[in-house]
Structures are given as structure tokens and as C-alpha cells.
Symmetry: C2
């Protein structure tokens, strides 16, 4: 496509590097900014620069944070006997939104994926073990592996189980089964099969 100006072409190219945004959407976004006040573009650009250059990672759980310790690790209201291991920050947000979990987290920063060249050493696995060996780690009673039930996720969970076995903790994973509100007939066979195998007795 021929753009009306070099500046627009540059901006469209930069915006279309974002995931899920193609050239057409990028052009629509750039033309939108051109119609709005210059301050809106300024504050968008400044917010992006600030978040990229100033965001820190929690020294304990590696979640994104404004400070050295994230608000969850710094809180005194959380149950320090539970650590929930997740792939990334979005999973922390998703679990926090359920308001069902009051323990701590550990953010791996990815999952083991030989295809994408991500091995165990690229993830925050060693720091989880260090955390369990530290004085703080003595309070931990259970590790919950809340990792997506995909092939890579299962590989990561299997690797973690092996590494965590020596610590003599309870290791659990989030339940897999039919989603609440979902229709049985539309559930895939694997999920439905697992949900029968891991059936829950009424008390």
C-alpha cells in the first residue's frame, strides 16, 4: 500500500508490530490519533515509554511491580503456606479476579517450549527452589501448579513436580473438567473423560 506520507508509513509499521494488529488496523489507529488532540498522542507515547523503562519485577515472585516487592508479596493478609505457580502476570490477574485464592504466587515468565527454544533455565524455576530453601520457605505447605493444560504446560508441570519432590510439600494442580455454564454435549472428549475420572463425591 502507498501511504500519503512517510511519517504515517513509519507509524503504521511500528503499530503493526504489535500482536494481532495488521497494517489496516494500524492505519485506522494512526488516523484516529491524527483526528484527536495532540495531548492524547503525547500521553499515550509517554505512558508506553514509562511502563517499559520503569516497570520492575517483584524480587520474590517475579510478578510485575512498581516496587521491589509486589503488592501481593508485601501484603500481610496473604496465606504464606501456599504458593501458586503460574506462567505469567496475566494468570495472576485472572486468579486474583476470582477472589478465591489468598496465598502467594510465583511467576515463571513462560513455559518450557523446545519449539520456541525456551528451556527450564530461561524460567524462574531455580528462584522458586531458592525461595523454598530460604527461611521463608519453611512456612510453605503446598505448591499449586496453575499452568495451562496444553502440551507445553503439562511438560512444565511434570518438570516442576520432579524438582519439587525433594521438598516434601503437597503439590497440586488446578481442577480440569467441564466449564461451569458449559453444555456437556459440546465438551471435548478429553476434558469430559478427565472430568469423569476425577469425579467429585458429594459430601
Amino acid at each position: 500500500m502507498e501511504y500519503p506520507s512517510k511519517l504515517i508509513e513509519d507509524a503504521v509499521n511500528e503499530v503493526s508490530k504489535l500482536p494481532g494488529i495488521g497494517k489496516k488496523t494500524a492505519l485506522r489507529l494512526v488516523l484516529h490519533l491524527l483526528k484527536r488532540d495532540e495531548e492524547q498522542t503525547e500521553s499515550l507515547a509517554n505512558a508506553l515509554k514509562a511502563v517499559r523503562s520503569q516497570t520492575k519485577y517483584c524480587q520474590k515472585c517475579h510478578n510485575l511491580s512498581d516496587h521491589d516487592l509486589c503488592s501481593i508479596c508485601a501484603s500481610r493478609k496473604r496465606d504464606e503456606s501456599l504458593i501458586c505457580v503460574v506462567e505469567d502476570t496475566r494468570d495472576v490477574l485472572a486468579i486474583e479476579n476470582t477472589a478465591q485464592y489468598k496465598g502467594l504466587y510465583h511467576v515463571l515468565g513462560g513455559i518450557i517450549s523446545p519449539v520456541e527454544g525456551v528451556g527450564p533455565s530461561d524460567l524462574q524455576i531455580e528462584s522458586l527452589l531458592t525461595r523454598l530453601r530460604s527461611p521463608e520457605g519453611e512456612q510453605v505447605k503446598e505448591i499449586i501448579l496453575a499452568i495451562s493444560p496444553t502440551m507445553e504446560g503439562d511438560t512444565t508441570a511434570f518438570y516442576l513436580q520432579k524438582k519439587l519432590r525433594p521438598f516434601n510439600l503437597r503439590i497440586s494442580t488446578i481442577a480440569r473438567g467441564v466449564p461451569i455454564g458449559g453444555d456437556l454435549e459440546y465438551a471435548d472428549e478429553v476434558t469430559l473423560g478427565r472430568s469423569i475420572l476425577s469425579r467429585i463425591a458429594y459430601d
Copy 2:
């Protein structure tokens, strides 16, 4: 939603002001930038600032441009007897991509929309008339109204026809009909009805 940090919240709020981008997509985009090199965010932010602050409008046709005259108005290869009136720059790009039109353009910068408070004086209509009255205007033989066939578009086209009548030019509009490659049975009645009324005789 509770964000892990104030910086992320600010960035998500700014990004989600863009059209078609909600909070969830904005968060995904911001977390994506955090995983990439800082230079990528820098060049994105700089390109957005540059395009907003330095983009000019062509003094003749009001298309977006790097210079005082856009590349189309400055070109000597265009047919100066034709002016195609469009709503915005994206329409110019769309028509240029067809490679079927070699005349000039006039970009209105919007369409008449009482609901959104856009009246004729907010658009580049007066400047089109000034353009036709100027010495350059004497070469113009036809005005093509290439405005979307919506209610607002039709209103704008009707207003323009009235204003253009005194100039004694040919005034035309782009053909409305069944899209090429489209199935007759799926065309809406209005379009199909119009395409029968404005049928074209085989030569």
C-alpha cells in the same frame, strides 16, 4: 480489574482509548511490549509522536501529506479536469489502490452528521468552492462524489450537489450495485433494487 502496577494501569488506560481496543487487548499489548526490547517501545512511541506533531495537510486537497502539497496534487501526471470528493484519507488510499483513477482529490475531513454535531462548516466544503473559483478551477470538468452510500453520506452528497450546481460542471457519483464476486441472493433488497434501476446496457 486490579493491575499489578500503577504504570501498567496508566498504559492500559491510554491504549484502551484507541478505537476497537478494550482493556483486555490493551493489557495484552502492554505486556507484549514489556517482553520485547526497550528500543521497540521507544521507536513506537517516537513514531506516534512524530506522526501527530509533524503531519501536515495538503493546502489544495486537504489530504494528509509530508509537505505543503500532497504527492497527488504535486504530480504532473494526474488529470486536472477531474476532482474526486471523498470523506477522508482512507478513501483516497482505497481509490488509489484500485489504480483506476488518475484525477485529483478533495478530502472533506468527515461527513455531515447532525447526531455528532458535524455541520457543513466543519468540513472542507468552502475550500472546494474556492478551489473551483480559482484560475486552476477553470480546468475542472467533472466532480465525482465518492461518498459512502449511508444516510449521512447521502445528505452530504445532496448538500454538495446544491452547492456545486452554479459551477456548471458534470457532477457524478460512484456506481452502486451488486459487489463483484457477490452472490445475488445475498445482496440486500435496496442494493439489488438500485442495481436493476441503474442497469448498464451492453455496448
